[in-house]
């Protein structure tokens, strides 16, 4: 190969690397804008798998439930982790209420909360849950791969988890993400 051409190709190397890098950067920015990429969000390991085994005591007056109860109940369903000390949980109460009114079955799990505080929360902000259980020490949540509250898991008709929504639901996220998925799974 001609020496000059070889040199020019060599000199184009850095530009090539920069171009490749900016391509990656660009693609990720686009995805961020579309809401498809969030560097702080964790991918859930449960998606595509059945619910982990658990049996939890109930939050009076509700009885407790286990994963088999969820699988035998009406599906698709939602499993929602919440806590009275969690502010986004207060904010998502109305969104959950709306879902419950539309007939969606929501199983609630109070995460690391005192029974009295949870009861107060449910009285004050409404109880959209089919049943409420208590995960006082948080071990069940760890089996779910939870890293914050609130989190909502969508379970399909075969008992497989299809989505983990981390953070408080809003009417937008319900309309854009949860409801379409539930319709698809129905």
């Amino acid at each position: 190969m001609d020496a000059v051409i070889r040199r020019r190709l060599l000199m184009l190397g850095p530009l090539g690397i920069a171009a490749a890098g900016s391509g990656v950067f660009w693609a990720l920015l686009l995805r961020m804008q579309q809401g498809k990429y969030d560097p702080h969000a964790l991918q859930s390991m449960l998606v595509g798998k059945p619910l982990p085994d658990f049996t939890l005591p109930g939050q009076a007056p509700s009885a407790g439930f286990s994963n088999t109860d969820v699988n035998r109940g009406k599906l698709p369903a939602l499993v929602n982790f919440f806590a009275s000390w969690c502010i986004p949980c207060v904010e998502e109460a109305s969104a959950l209420d709306g879902l419950a009114r539309q007939g969606v079955t929501i199983w609630g799990i109070a995460y690391k909360d005192k029974a009295a505080a949870t009861a107060g929360f449910l009285t004050r902000y409404g109880d959209p849950y089919h049943q409420v259980a208590r995960d006082a020490d948080g071990r069940t949540a760890i089996n779910f791969g939870l890293y914050g509250v609130p989190e909502t898991y969508v379970v399909d008709r075969t008992g497989i988890v299809r989505l983990r929504y981390a953070g408080g639901l809003s009417s937008d996220s319900v309309n854009d993400t949860i409801l379409p998925l539930l319709r698809k799974l129905a």
């Binding site: 000059v4 040199r7 020019r8 000199m11 184009l12 850095p14 530009l15 920069a18 171009a19 890098g21 900016s22 990656v24 950067f25 660009w26 693609a27 990720l28 920015l29 961020m32 804008q33 990429y37 560097p39 702080h40 964790l42 991918q43």
Partner: protein
Amino acid sequence: MIPELGHFALALAVALAAAQAVLPIVGAQSRDPRLMAAGPALAVGQLTALLAAYGCLIWSSVVNDFSVYDVAMNSSSTEPLFYRITGTWGNHDGSILLWCLVLAICGGAVALFGRGLPSALRARVLGVMGIVSAGFLLFTLTASNPFRRMWPPPIQGAAINPLLQDPGLAIHPPILYTGYVGFSIPFAFAVAALLEGRVDATWGRWVRPWTLAAWCFLTCGIALGSWWAYYELGWGGFWFWDPVENASLLPWLTGTALLHCAIVVEKREALKTWTVLLAIATFSLSLCGTFMVRSGILNSVHSFAVDPTQGVFILVLLAITIGGSLALFAFRAPVLAASGVFAPISREGALVLNNVLLCSLCAVVFTGTAYPLFAALFHVQLSVGPPYFHLTVVPLLVPLFLAMSVGPVLAWKRADLAPALLRLWWAGAIAALIGIGTEFGLHRAFAAAGFAAAAWLILGAFAELVERVRLFRIPLGNSWSRLRAQPLGVWGGAIAHAGMGVTVAGIAGMSLALSTIVAVAPGQTIAFGGYQWTLLAMHDVPGSDYTAHVADLRIMRDGRQVAVVHPSLRTFGQQHQTVTDTSIQTNLLRDLYIALGGEQDGKVVLRLHVNTLAAFVWLGALVMAFGGALSLVDRRLRVGAPARRGAVGVPA
């Protein structure tokens, strides 16, 4: 009114920068002296406008004008005055304005101190800096305006993040930015050289001091950030390979390579292509690093949660600046006059090895930082943490450290390796002894290797001086007079290399650090690490905008009191945050580091560390910067023709 003035000044700066971007380069291409002379005037004008703009922002913060959005979000009247001022750069918009201001200062510096430059070169350099300035100023004005107003203004601002209310962190951004942005000057010189088609010793003479100055600031900036993390965050570590930490390291690595090449270009007219490429790469990495963090695509505690649309704007700016300069490099680099020839084993050859190793280090750190992004494209979630970096960086450091002491004793153009190595026998022997001794004494291989490397670097650093004075080969008196005649540049290089050795010693020492967590009741004494630690009392102390819960702790050793320290937890009422204030008692050889935790059953939880040689980590960086500063001062005294114009001041 003042914010409006500031806003206007910002807009004016954009216009001036745009003019600076176009006119001088056109003038240089068409050899029009008036257009070329416009460059310095425009640069100084832009600087004045930005000083005014930033002054207005500081003023707004000082007088608690909460109608300015950024002041309302990031400041409060309960803060001490100092933090109201330094807080202006503690948020996204203010820090970008600071970035632009430092860029303008660099442009102004070239305009003012570059009077001895050939006018075409100076015009091109200012033009390139104008292009960069114009781009970022436009971004600031349109997408990230610090003078945005909010109406109605809140009664009280939201207050600064308590972690930022700290003197070390307050001055960290300006110093770091001076380092980052300072490399825009060598960048501009490189692009100007490509435009002109010539790289020669004169060019090298101008590039070297600016590179040195920027490098010194960047070294200090990185060290300051690391030191802050050590004393503020309470877990006794000082570097986590967080993406933003890495982003500051990348330009430092290529900047160090650039520094060495600039010396060679000035002396030997060799390594021109390397120098130009490294100058472009260093500033490009500065840009990439700072702005990748701002765009929010990186997972880092430092990320400003910025809207992705801003990220797109930044990406376009980067594409134009970096892509444009690299494309120019691809086309014009081959026409640069042929460099001096040298044998593979020679000082130039050692510098090429140095470049390859430093650039490889840079590539590895970059890969580790960016890999999660790459994986995210394929919907794979990966994380790359300290263990990766330790495993990949250390193997590259070994040949680098070895070469650092050998390179300076090699002759230019062609050298013999074996005699050079033999001349370093004493450094190698002592290093080996230290390493073996440490291993036998402490059975800690990493520390042993680290101390050996440190000894090799420090002793080897002075090998060049030993060579030059022919120590023990000529009468000592003659050696002494030779020593005194050595130029500062040689001292500077030796001291800088030794500084690296000091830092390595500090890192090795920290691997021997001891730490524990204890719960003590008041009056109780704990024995740890050879010291006796007694909790005397607990009490509360109010501060300006916080309440501190303080522990009084007495540290004794062998029956003698070493210190009484007061670690505390500060609770900031307005921000509902509690921040730990560690106590560090140092005698330079070891740090006694205490962090206060909560209380449990009437006992107080304390984390105690004995950090061996912790201070050396940052002292080493200071020594490196000092060495750099010495070299900087040297050239001022020896520079040839350009100095005849009168005293040319030390830049930056």
